[in-house]
C-alpha cells in the first residue's frame, strides 16, 4: 500500500514538475520575444532615407522621421506598407510583421528610393 501511494505521489510530482517546467519555459520564451523586439529609425532628410537599406527582424518596429521642410512618404512597391503623407517634423511607425525585401519610394518625390529588409 505504501509502495502504491509512493508510486502515485512520484507520478504526480513528476507531472507537476513537468507542468511547472513547461510554464517556466513558455513564459521565458514569450518574455524573450518581447524583450528582443526593437525599434529602428529611418531619418528622411535632404531628399534621402538614412539608412537607405535597413535590416530588421520580423516583429520589430520601423519609425520614419521626416526632418525635411516638406512632406514625404514611405510607400512600398505593392503597397505592403504606405505611410501616406508624413509632414515636416512628423513621424510614421510601422510594425514589420512579414519577412521579405521591400523596396520603397517617396510617392511625392520619385527620385527617393530605399529598401526595408525583414528577416
Amino acid at each position: 500500500m505504501m509502495r502504491d501511494f509512493m508510486s502515485r505521489m512520484d507520478k504526480r510530482l513528476r507531472d507537476a514538475g513537468l507542468l511547472l517546467l513547461t510554464c517556466i519555459a513558455l513564459s521565458a520564451a514569450s518574455g524573450a520575444v518581447q524583450a528582443d523586439a526593437r525599434v529602428h529609425v529611418v531619418v528622411i532628410e535632404a531628399m534621402r532615407y538614412v539608412p537607405d537599406v535597413i535590416e530588421v527582424n520580423a516583429g520589430d518596429t520601423v519609425v520614419w522621421k521626416n526632418k525635411d521642410a516638406f512632406p514625404h512618404t514611405a510607400t512600398a512597391g505593392d503597397r505592403d506598407f504606405d505611410s501616406g503623407s508624413i509632414g515636416s517634423e512628423h513621424a510614421w511607425k510601422f510594425k514589420a510583421r512579414r519577412k521579405g525585401v521591400f523596396p520603397y519610394v517617396c510617392t511625392l518625390h520619385p527620385t527617393m528610393k530605399a529598401t526595408l529588409v525583414v528577416k
Binding site: A46, M47, R48, A69, F70, H109
Partner: protein, 180 residues
C-alpha cells in the same frame, strides 16, 4: 504652325528673363551677398515658384501638371517657413537686394505671359519655365549663395534644400520629355 511659333517665342522670352536673373546674380557675385541678402534671395526664389504653382494649379487641366504644381507649392512653402524661422532665430532681417528684386519682377512678368496661354500650350510653357527656373536657382545656390553664406545654420539650410531643387528639376525635365 502660327500657334507653335507663338509658344516657342513665349518660352524663349521667359527663358531669357531667367537668364537675365542668372546674369544679375553673376554680377552681384563680384561683391557677394551677405546672409541677410541671401535670406531675401531664398524667400524670393521660393515665393516666385509658389505663385507660378498656384497659377498652374488653377489653370491646368492636366492631372500630372496640377500634381507637380501642388508639389511646388508644398515644397517651396515648407522651405520658406523653415528659412523664415531660421532668420527669426538668428535675429537677421532679410535684406532686399538687386537679385531678390529681379527674381520677383521677372517672376511677375513670367506669370503675366503664362496667364495669356491656355490648355496644352500653357502646360508646355509652364513646365518649360519650371525646368529653366530650377536650373537657374540651382546655379544661384551653387555659385553665389553657398559660397557666400557665413552663418553655419544658413549654410546648412541651403545644403539641405539643394537636393530638393535638383529633384524638382529632374521631375520637370521628365515631364517635359513626356510632353514632346
Amino acid at each position: 504652325m502660327k500657334q507653335l511659333i507663338n509658344v516657342a517665342q513665349v518660352i524663349k522670352s521667359i527663358a531669357g528673363g531667367v537668364f537675365a536673373i542668372a546674369a544679375t546674380v553673376a554680377f552681384a557675385q563680384a561683391s557677394g551677398p551677405n546672409d541677410a541678402q541671401i535670406a531675401a534671395i531664398v524667400v524670393a526664389a521660393n515665393s516666385v515658384d509658389i505663385d507660378a504653382g498656384k497659377l498652374a494649379r488653377s489653370k491646368s487641366k492636366n492631372k500630372e501638371v496640377k500634381e507637380f504644381a501642388q508639389l511646388m507649392i508644398n515644397d517651396h512653402t515648407g522651405v520658406n517657413k523653415q528659412a523664415i524661422a531660421l532668420v527669426q532665430k538668428l535675429k537677421v532681417t532679410p535684406e532686399e537686394n538687386d537679385t531678390s528684386k529681379s527674381l520677383k519682377s521677372d517672376g511677375a512678368a513670367t506669370l503675366k505671359k503664362l496667364g495669356g496661354l491656355k490648355g496644352a500650350e500653357f502646360d508646355k510653357a509652364y513646365v518649360a519655365n519650371e525646368v529653366t527656373y530650377h536650373q537657374a536657382v540651382l546655379d544661384v545656390i551653387d555659385k553665389t549663395l553657398l559660397p557666400n553664406a557665413k552663418n553655419a545654420e544658413l549654410k546648412g539650410l541651403l545644403e539641405k534644400v539643394r537636393p530638393a531643387i535638383d529633384a524638382h528639376l529632374q521631375h520637370a525635365k521628365h515631364m517635359q520629355a513626356s510632353m514632346k
